[in-house]
C-alpha cells in the first residue's frame, strides 16, 4: 500500500491547468524601470507558456489602513504546523534561492543534488523518499511556485534579494484570500485539505506502525473470526481507523495547503480505508 502510494506522489505543477493569471495592483508603487522590465519579461514568458496575465483597470482601490508587513501570518502557520508547512517556508524563500526542504534538486538534477548526501540532514520529503526507495518526481514547493517563479532555476541564488522581489505565490489551488471593503483579509475555502503528510508515511514505515501493517496484511478479517473479530474489531479495522485518524491529523495540520492532485489522493485513500473496513 505504502510504496505504490508514495510512488504516485508525483505532484503536477499547479500551473498546468492555469489559463489566466489576474494580478491586482495598487498603483505603480514606485517600481523602478528595471522592475518593470522584469515584469514585462515575466509576462512575456507566461504568455509563451500559454498563461494570460490580466491587470484589472487601474488597479483596485486600496482601502486598507492595515500596514502590510509581509507574510507574518504564514510564519505563524509554519511555526504551528511544523513539517507540513515547509511549503510555506519555501514560499518565503528569496527568489532564486533554494527553498528550505526543497527537494526539486533531485527533480532538476542541478548542483544541489550532489550536495545532498545520505549523511547530511535530509529534508523532510527526500528522507521519506529515500526510505521508501521511490524516486521523487515532483516537488510540492516547486509546484506552488511554478506559476510565477519560472526563472528561479535560471537565476543565481541571491539571499539578499529584497522582499518585494519575491514572486507572488498563489495559495495552492482553490484556497482563496479575499480583501474586504475594510481592508481585512479573509481566508476562505480551506476545504479539500489533504496533504499527504510525509510524517504519515514515516509513521507507516516506522516500527510503531508495524503491528497495524501486519494487521492490514495478515490480520483476520471479520469473516475469518479471531478474538478481535469476536469483539467486533479486527486488526484491519483498527489499522484502518488508525490510518484514517492519522490522515485526518495530517489534513488538519495542513489546512492552508492543497495539492492539485489532492482529490485523486483522497479518493485513493478513501478507497483503501473503506476497503479495509
Amino acid at each position: 500500500m505504502v510504496l505504490p502510494l508514495a510512488a504516485r506522489f508525483h505532484i503536477a505543477p499547479l500551473a498546468k491547468n492555469c489559463k489566466t493569471v489576474i494580478r491586482h495592483t495598487y498603483g505603480d508603487g514606485g517600481a523602478s524601470e528595471q522592475e518593470e522590465e522584469e515584469e514585462e519579461e515575466e509576462e512575456e514568458e507566461e504568455e509563451e507558456e500559454g498563461i494570460r496575465t490580466l491587470i484589472p483597470g487601474d488597479g483596485a482601490v486600496q482601502t486598507a489602513s492595515i500596514p502590510v508587513v509581509g507574510p507574518s501570518w504564514l510564519a505563524g502557520v509554519t511555526k504551528a504546523f511544523g513539517p507540513c508547512t515547509r511549503f510555506i517556508e519555501a514560499l518565503e524563500a528569496p527568489l532564486g534561492a533554494a527553498p528550505p526542504g526543497d527537494a526539486s534538486a533531485e527533480l532538476h538534477g542541478d548542483a544541489a543534488k550532489s550536495s545532498l548526501s545520505e549523511n547530511e540532514d535530509p529534508d523532510w520529503i527526500s528522507a521519506s523518499v529515500r526510505r521508501s526507495g521511490v524516486r521523487l518526481d515532483g516537488c510540492p514547493a516547486r509546484s506552488i511556485t511554478s506559476i510565477t517563479n519560472k526563472k528561479s532555476t535560471q537565476m543565481p541564488a541571491d539571499a539578499t534579494a529584497d522582499v518585494t522581489a519575491r514572486p507572488v505565490h498563489p495559495l495552492p489551488f482553490d484556497v482563496e484570500v479575499h480583501r474586504l471593503a475594510n481592508g481585512q483579509r479573509m481566508v476562505l475555502d480551506t476545504h479539500r485539505l489533504l496533504i499527504p503528510d510525509i510524517a504519515w508515511i514515516d509513521w507507516m514505515l516506522s516500527p510503531e506502525a508495524a503491528p497495524y501493517a501486519w494487521g492490514v496484511l495478515f490480520g483476520p478479517t471479520r469473516d475469518e473470526g479471531g478474538t478481535e473479530a469476536a469483539q467486533g474489531t479486527t486488526k484491519r479495522q483498527e489499522a484502518a481507523f488508525c490510518i484514517e485518524g492519522r490522515l485526518s491529523v495530517a489534513s488538519a495540520k495542513a489546512n492552508f495547503l492543497e495539492w492539485p492532485e489532492a482529490g485523486w489522493m483522497r479518493r485513493e485513500l478513501s478507497k483503501a480505508v473503506l476497503a479495509w473496513l
Binding site: H24, E176, V177, H178, V187, T190
Partner: protein, 151 residues
C-alpha cells in the same frame, strides 16, 4: 431539513447554469422561509444556501465532482475547514481572518423513511464575491488571482 436539501439541490442545478455572488442582491434561485439557495461559484465547496435574515451562509457537502471520493469524506473536509478557520481565529492576527463557522449535523428521515444525517457548515455571511478575491482561485485553478499585499 429535507426542505433544505431540496433547496440546495436546486442550488446545485442553478450553480451549474449561472454564477452569482452571495453578498450581492442577486435574484434568488429558491427562497422559502428566509433561506436562499445560492448559486455561488466554486468547484468543491458543495451546495450553498443563504439565510438573509440571520446573515448565515450554509454549505452542505457535495461530491458531484468526484473530488473527495465519497460523501463521507466530503463531509469530513467540511469539518477540517472549520478547524482551519478556528486556527486562524486563534492566531489573532490583524492581517488575516476567517469567517466564523461551525458544523451542524442534522439527523432527519427522508421521504422513503430512511434515517440519515445531513452535515451543514454554517458561516457568517460576509460581503465576499468575485470582486473581492485577491489571492487564489475560485474556479478550480483556471484563473489565479495574485496580490502581493495579501501575502
Amino acid at each position: 431539513m429535507p426542505g433544505l436539501l431540496k433547496k440546495v439541490e436546486a442550488a446545485k442545478r442553478a450553480a451549474a447554469a449561472s454564477r452569482s455572488l452571495p453578498g450581492e442582491d442577486d435574484d434568488p434561485v429558491v427562497e422559502e422561509g428566509g433561506l436562499v439557495a445560492a448559486s455561488v461559484g466554486g468547484v468543491a465547496g458543495g451546495a450553498k444556501a443563504i439565510h438573509r435574515e440571520f446573515g448565515l451562509f450554509l454549505k452542505t457537502p457535495d461530491d458531484s465532482e468526484g473530488i473527495y471520493g465519497t460523501m463521507i469524506m466530503a463531509a469530513k473536509v467540511m469539518k477540517l475547514e472549520v478547524n482551519a478557520n478556528r486556527y486562524i481565529h486563534g492566531m489573532d492576527s490583524i492581517h488575516v481572518n476567517a469567517p466564523l463557522s461551525t458544523i451542524v449535523d442534522v439527523p432527519y428521515v427522508d421521504d422513503d423513511g430512511v434515517a440519515s444525517v445531513q452535515r451543514v457548515q454554517v458561516q457568517a455571511k460576509l460581503a465576499i464575491g468575485g470582486d473581492t478575491l485577491r489571492v487564489g482561485s475560485s474556479d478550480g485553478g483556471d484563473t489565479i488571482h495574485q496580490d502581493e499585499t495579501c501575502m
